[in-house]
């Protein structure tokens, strides 16, 4: 799929507003998990890194692509594990403390 010109601009604009709106009502108590969570979401870069490596033709391209996929996988998996671990701990007193 090729996205060109104004369509791309519309996507950028709408996504930017979405991000702003989604985050603007988050209480401070969740800022660290949220930062980690948004960190996980840009782990979608893994998809792009896989495509880049999949198209690689020379050893140099393969090397860069390999490093890209390696880093991206770390971003996605690490971001998820850490966020999930933090959120798992939040409990309300209604359900009992421990």
């Amino acid at each position: 799929m090729m996205i060109e010109g104004f369509v791309a601009l519309y996507i950028f604009m709408l996504a930017a507003f979405t991000g702003y709106e989604v985050i603007s009502k988050v209480p401070v108590i969740l800022h660290t998990p949220l930062m980690s969570g948004s960190n996980f979401v840009h782990g979608i870069v893994l998809v792009g890194a896989m495509v880049a490596l999949g198209h690689a033709q020379t050893p140099l391209e393969q090397l860069i692509g390999f490093v890209g996929v390696l880093l991206a996988a770390g971003n996605a998996v690490g971001g998820y594990v850490v966020t999930e671990r933090m959120l798992e701990m939040f409990k309300s007193s209604g359900k009992g403390g421990q």
């Binding site: 949220l34 960190n39 979401v41 896989m50 403390g97």
Partner: protein, 460 residues
């Protein structure tokens, strides 16, 4: 197959936004991240079937890289201590930035013909991603204690700006020259971007790292969004830009919590702990108290507000503090936790640390929610916090922390401060609170002192 893949990417984008939205409340947050995780899994799985990918070798490399990168991140993420969370977030974020830069690297190394706009965006994403990569690694090193020294030299800002300008110039040449740029030029461009990320982060003090990490998080998002545009992948575009704007907003909120602008954080070198200004007019004396007396005071109070700081977390005292809270609760004392937005090493970090100890989140209150309640509290227990309760921020315009919103612990009937010694806090400013008439100092290691308080309350 192409249609299925597009649908999968669409579903992933929806799940990301839905997941982030769910993360705005502690009740639904965990389900939010799980949904986002499902989205990610779907997107990654269908990508193996993308048309145009070729070569058994490439597939094998892909698989190996995912297993190694994902495996290492999984183990490290599971093992890291909650106090070390900020630097782990920085590290994973840096990896994302590096990946975005690598995507641009592959596309540019191939000298593939692109339209002018696409090529410029590829270069821009490469620049931002690389800076986020090397900058995040430095932030990680600083918080991990690997790089303790804050390196500064005269005219540093100008040198940094010059490096950045040259990097942009090289980027422009590459972006505008179609397929006519050389491999050497590319190499120098990436090298310049790498060094700029390092040079920009090195002079920033440790106290400002949270804001910087948040900024790099936003930048990585942006880079990912740009590379998504280059690859024509709408899921990457949307996820990247959503994180880019969300991260920008988070960065602003964090800077605001410290009453500073982003420019101030990046270029002014506050929080270095160097030659800090001493507030000369602090008068009065430090009045020590025994743990047994402090315990009695709290046990017979109606309302106690606990102000925890990073010192508590380092002493691993949060579990004991929660035990104390439960004991007080059984005696009918109302206990609340007051959290300053920048308590800990990252905004909201203290909430995570308390949550780890089992403190329910509805006992934890933000600065705005609780500041008016201190006046009606019998005891404010300050443990391991310093600058965030310093009334000088309200009263002394000469102080470096003047104007920073603080918790009004000094308004409580009695203030008990648990502290190891008489030193100053992170900013190096003397704390006027400690010298006030209603303040008593309880010296000792946080965990040990909390244990003594528990014993006292139990024996009553």
């Amino acid at each position: 197959m192409g249609f299925v893949i597009e649908v999968a990417y669409f579903v992933a984008a929806v799940l990301f936004i839905y997941g982030l939205k769910k993360m705005s409340s502690p009740v639904t947050a965990r389900r939010g991240i799980v949904w986002a995780g499902v989205g990610m899994l779907v997107a990654v799985l269908v990508t193996f079937f993308q048309p145009g990918l070729h070569g058994v070798g490439n597939y094998l490399l892909m698989f190996i890289a995912i297993v190694i990168g994902g495996g290492v991140a999984w183990v490290s993420g599971k093992r890291v201590a909650m106090t070390d969370m900020p630097q782990m977030i920085a590290l994973y974020n840096g990896m994302g930035g590096g990946a975005a830069a690598a995507i641009a690297g592959v596309e540019l190394v191939r000298h593939e013909p692109m339209t002018l706009t696409v090529q410029l965006i590829a270069v821009l994403g490469a620049l931002i991603g690389t800076v986020a990569f090397s900058g995040s690694l430095i932030a990680f090193a600083k918080l991990q204690g690997l790089q303790r020294k804050t390196i500064r030299f005269p005219n540093q800002k100008f040198v940094n700006m010059a490096v950045f300008a040259v990097a942009v110039l090289f980027g422009l040449i590459i972006g505008l020259s179609g397929t006519g740029y050389s491999g050497g030029l590319l190499f120098v461009f990436f090298l310049l971007a790498l060094s700029f990320g390092v040079m920009m982060t090195v002079p920033i003090g440790g106290a400002d790292m949270p804001v910087v990490i948040s900024l790099y998080n936003a930048l990585t998002g942006l880079a990912v969004g740009f590379e998504g545009f280059v690859l024509g992948n709408p899921a990457m575009m949307i996820a990247g830009i959503v994180v880019g704007s969300a991260g920008t907003l988070l960065t602003q909120l964090m800077a605001k919590a410290m009453n500073r602008s982003l420019a101030n954080v990046l270029f002014s070198n506050f929080g270095s702990g160097g030659a800090a200004v001493q507030a000369g007019e602090v008068s009065g004396s430090l009045k020590p108290i025994e743990a047994s007396d402090a315990g009695v005071m709290m046990a017979y109070a109606n309302k106690v507000i606990i102000v925890p700081g990073y010192g508590m977390a380092v002493a691993q005292a949060q579990h004991k503090i929660w035990e104390l809270t439960e004991l007080l609760g059984e005696r009918g004392v109302t206990v609340k936790f007051a959290i300053h937005p920048v308590a800990g090493r990252m905004p909201g970090h203290m909430n995570v640390l308390l949550a780890e100890a089992g403190v329910p989140y509805d006992m934890i209150f933000d600065l705005d929610e609780i500041n008016n309640e201190f006046a009606s509290a019998d005891v404010a227990l300050v443990i391991g916090a310093n600058d965030v309760v310093n009334p000088v921020a309200r009263t002394n315009p000469d102080s470096p922390i003047y104007g920073m919103p603080i918790l009004n612990a000094d308004k409580a009937q009695n203030v008990i401060v648990i502290k190891r010694g008489q030193g100053t806090g992170f900013s190096g400013v003397e704390n006027a609170l400690f010298f006030e008439d209603n303040t008593r100092m309880l010296y000792g290691d946080g965990q040990k002192v909390a244990g003594e308080l528990i014993q006292t309350v139990k024996s009553l």
